[in-house]
Amino acid sequence: MSKRSSWAILVLYWVLGTLQAQEMAEKLWDAGFEQVHVLEAADTVTIFFEHRPFRSPYHSLTYAGLVADESRHVVWIPLYHNRPMGVYEGNDLRYRPLENEERESFKARNNLARGYRFQLRIMPDFSARFGNFDQPFQTKTNVILDTRIYLLPGLSLQSGVLFPLENSLDQQEMNIRVAPTHLHYFVELRPSHFLSLTGGLFHTDRYGLDLQYRYARLDKKWSVGLESGYTGYYFLPPGSIYTETPEDLSLILDLEYRLPVENLSVRLSGGQFLFRDCGVRGDLIKQFGTVEVGFHAALTQSGSTAGFQVAFPLFPGKVLRGKKVELRTTEEFRWEYTYNNEDVVARKYRLGTPRLVDQLRQYNSLFIQSF
């Protein structure tokens, strides 16, 4: 065979390979995956993707596997908030941390402008207060239509519109207003050291700055973290914004342990909660596939309480999906019930973006491999 024809064959292989990679990336994109990058080597394929419609990365990985339908060895690298989380390899989704080469390779390909759809998310927002003797029914229900736009690697803006449905909780008028809007920065400082910084308007009428740090090795049972916030009260009357100076500092340290069975985790937190309430809180969290159920008990200066929480995606998920736009229901609706209706015990505010600890729990390979 002449030198020229062997060159031609090589080029042909390269072109075919690129076409195949492109085709796979397109298939994944059409199925709702974003920031898809397919890298082909001799006997392995490395696939980066971000998948926002599902709550649990396990299901995203499974879905991607079905859509890609690849017979070679696949190295999956799911992204969360535009950051690679880890490597889940092969059919058994075996975990390993990213290699530097893979990080660099992602950095070189990361495309914020074209890598994401404009996703509109429908999310109910429900808050309640109990124990008022004259009016025990005090609830506020809204529907939020929001989106997240990536500005820089790891940096995103979440904003939207809030439509009030009913309010017997407080004096707030039924004006259509801005939904919790904040800037969110997520980064893995060093391997297994995760940091999340959020600033802006949150749920629970709080605004300010929130910092979450967590050391979590995604193949280990223990993880330790810190949640801190510097917040104030705000509300949005028609056409204006009312804020009080932030003066509420919260600082909570926690330790979480994943029990070797049943996807159960126990978490012990302690420190200063919202409204300068010092104390401890214990959580028992059970992960069912995409649903999470937790029970908790807390003891603070303000008193004691117990309760439960559930987090689940809203049905049906995808409503409409185009090449560039998607309308879907929220991947996570979280609702917490606390038993003590008299004292405000061990409260936290909800950011509107899932907390770091709850997210990392789902990327833990012990959870992903438990299915």
Binding site: A31, G32, P53, F54, R55, H59, T62, Y63, L66, V67, P124, F126, A128, R129, F130, G131, N132, F133, P136, F137, Q138, T139, T141, V261, E262, L264, L284, K286, F288, G289, T290, V291, V293, F295, S304, A306, F308, F312, P313, L314, F315, P316, G317, K318, F333, W335, Y337, Y339, N341
Partner: protein
């Protein structure tokens, strides 16, 4: 006691969310007693849900046999909502909300209760299944407490269906937290002193299920004899009529569904393939 009607709203909201999220995933049924535990009319059984699904139940008790007696008085019939969450292969958590429709504008849903159910022994060829129910001693409505041990044995009668025999002992006492102006103090009190006239001592039941979809039962709840008959649809939805003390009518109903389902979009994709 003044926990407010917010719970009713929350519960409705909760159920609504459940149904939204469950979507097309069909629930499977489990027979439960009036507080949502596997059981008969008022008594529990040691039956264990091996599918480990979440159960949601709704029961109605007639006025004279209600278990949440507001300020010691019996005011109208009582509605009991229950949620049962399996945590491990041997541990379940039960949550109850009680509601007095005739007092709803004053107390809302009423009192709530939480307890755990522990599977001590699995049913064997000769040995019965054994379950321990414990209520945390702290709480506002501890008089709804259930602390008991129960055994259940199923006997297959061939073509004549299944016979289920249960029996156990329930503590007639509860750990009461009383709040006064001076402070709160704790005492061990008899459940009967707050009008809780069931599960105070030994109880037992007998149930015959000639076909999958139908069963009849009779039980002694330690104070009185109750009977019931249930219908279930494809082991998914279940409804039961009760005759409490063989005098007054009550209802229990429940649905059961799995929590470890995949997202709808993924399920649909798998189906299409």
């Amino acid at each position: 006691m003044l926990c407010g009607g917010i719970f009713m709203k929350q519960f409705v909201y909760f159920v609504l969310m459940f149904s939204l999220w469950v979507g097309v995933e069909l629930p499977a049924s489990g027979q439960v007693n009036v507080v949502g535990k596997p059981g008969h009319v008022l008594t529990p059984s040691a039956q264990w849900d091996t599918l480990r699904q979440v159960g949601v139940s709704f029961g109605i008790l007639p006025e004279s046999y209600s278990i949440n007696n507001f300020m010691g008085r019996q005011v109208g019939p009582e509605h009991i909502y229950g949620v049962r969450v399996p945590l491990t292969a041997f541990l379940e958590v039960n949550i109850n909300f009680t509601r007095k429709p005739e007092l709803a504008d004053r107390i809302g849903v009423g009192d709530r209760h939480i307890d755990v159910r522990i599977h001590l022994l699995k049913e064997r060829r000769l040995l019965p299944s054994l379950v321990l129910v414990l209520t945390p001693p702290e709480g506002v409505s501890t008089y709804l407490s259930q602390d008991l041990l129960v055994a259940t044995k199923n006997i297959v009668l061939g073509g004549a269906g299944t016979l289920r025999i249960s029996g156990g002992y329930s503590s007639p006492y509860f750990y009461r937290t009383s709040k006064t102006k001076i402070g709160s103090y704790k005492t061990i009190t008899r459940k009967t002193s707050v009008g809780n006239n069931y599960l105070n001592g030994f109880f037992g039941s007998l149930q015959w299920q000639p076909w999958e979809f139908l069963g009849v039962m009779v039980e002694h709840d330690s104070q009185k004899i109750n009977t019931g008959m249930f219908l279930q649809w494809k082991e998914r939805i279940y409804i039961q009529g009760n005759l409490i003390d063989n005098k007054e009518f009550g209802i229990t109903s429940s649905v059961r569904f799995p929590l470890d389902f995949a997202p709808f979009e993924l399920r649909r994709y798998v189906k299409k393939k």
